[in-house]
Amino acid sequence: MAVHRGKGLATVEYPTGMNQNGDPSQAWIKVKPDGRVDVFSGTADIGNGSKTVQSQIVAETIGVPYDWVTYDNSNTDSSPMCTGTFASRATFVAGNAVLKAARQVRERILAVASRELEIDPADLEVADGSVSVKGTPAKSMGVDEVAGAATFVHGELLTGDGAHLNPGAAIIDPTTGEVDKPPHAAISYAACTAEVEVDDETGDVRVLSLTQAYDIGRAMNPTLVEGQIDGGAVMGLGFGLLEDCYPYYPTAEHRGDGMNTYHVPTMAELPEIKNVLMENPSSGGPYGAKGIGEMSNNAQPAAIANAIHDAVGVWVTEFPITPERVLAALDAKSEGRSEPRREGRVVAFDEELSINSFTSAKTWGA
């Protein structure tokens, strides 16, 4: 009886957004007479920071300070349509929508400033809340002055709208599966190594460290990216070792239904987490961004399962890898009836047993 150490690796290839299913986001922007910018977008910020990142995109694209930008998605009626905050799509898809809207606003600002300054718009640039003549920064006017002139002199509203959609790709060659347009918005890549300790007497698994590398396209807001990746690591740890809707005995009524029966990781389970963030710009994302939210909790469970195999030589083929399952696998091994490693699994929706989620079917290959 002893504690064994092991290391495991898993990799992820992740397509940003929903892609094939049509995945629209829309945005519109208006500028107040004092130059402040109001962004209307339907993307709800659930703590992932999409409000911050989209405001950054607008500020950068128009050329005004971040503090001038207000992001309003206070209600569904006044906001343009957004498919939602999921599938790592907020920065990429909704970010592209606000980017396009902001480009239009910038054009409108340049058009009004051109009349005010009597200079061709092609010779003007906008930065830090000011429109100036290229190469002659002394000749300039503030975006607030431009907005005031638009409102009170020219009778115009500085506004812009934008939308982004990845149209579904159709198969044009059934033999090869070739499609008529890119099937994915952007592909991200990730790898995670887990180091674990497995107690062969109790079946307890402790994750000592998670070392991860993520292709994030471009970190527009590094702190937010780090927050997503740290959070995803611990969520993945929970998925690998703790979290289960289905420990019910003997029937489904006895399933976990609250935080005392559905176990999520706490600070006590927190391993050492190290991240490598690789900036590998995407051609289609705003400022080279790719999605990072959902991908960040995919690799850990498989890396942990591989590390357990490295430590004690058994494949536990069902998540979460509870002490019971580790001990059952060790017993099976010692009795010479180890299951071979599974090559895949069927995931099916079980209407009888499921409240609102997918369940991994016990029967597969059917």
Partner: protein, 173 residues
């Protein structure tokens, strides 16, 4: 029942077995303590009762006559944030924010009680708080920084030391 809540004396009318959480949220309209599991499991409802962190969902009103209750509203104001609040901003220790109020209250008690900057000590003190967003990494950094006596610039956020950035020059995919 007389309570002092965030330095204000309150005469509370709720029945004696009402939970402190319900009294705060429903009767006094103080909504920072969150109703998470409402069974003592998640830590989101934590408040200070006479300086000690307590699960307000499990604390009956009748046990509190004359007590002093502090919620996150009582720790600082937007213009004058407490050090723990400043640290949570600077270290980006909140994402969705549901656990944040309970954690700030508990961290305030931990640091106020002379808690160290040691990760294991902080983990032991705060392991009763669930957070689904942050993975705890930046919460730990924030609390450790307060325990170390750092000062905080709330206009900027810190990048964590556990991250390395690599730029792939000229690559596009």
């Amino acid at each position: 029942m007389e309570l002092t809540v965030n330095s204000v004396s309150c005469s509370v009318q709720s029945p004696p077995l009402t939970s402190l959480l319900t009294v705060l949220r429903e009767e006094l309209d103080i909504t920072s303590p969150k109703a998470g599991c409402e069974s003592g499991g998640c830590g989101a409802c934590t408040v200070l009762v006479d300086g000690q962190p307590r699960r307000s969902c499990l604390t009956a009103l009748c046990t509190l006559d004359g007590s002093e209750v502090v919620t996150v509203e009582g720790l600082g104001t937007p213009e004058d944030l407490s050090r723990v609040q400043q640290a949570f901003i600077h270290h980006y220790a909140a994402q969705c924010g549901f656990c944040t109020d309970g954690l700030i209250v508990a961290a305030t008690a931990y640091v106020g009680g002379g808690g160290s900057a040691d990760t294991g000590d902080i983990g032991e003190a705060l392991a009763g708080h669930y957070c689904r967003c942050t993975g705890y990494v930046k919460i730990l950094e924030a609390v450790a920084a307060v325990a170390r006596g750092d000062t905080f610039d709330t206009a900027s956020t810190a990048s964590s030391a556990n991250n390395t950035y690599v730029t792939i020059a000229g690559a596009e995919s």
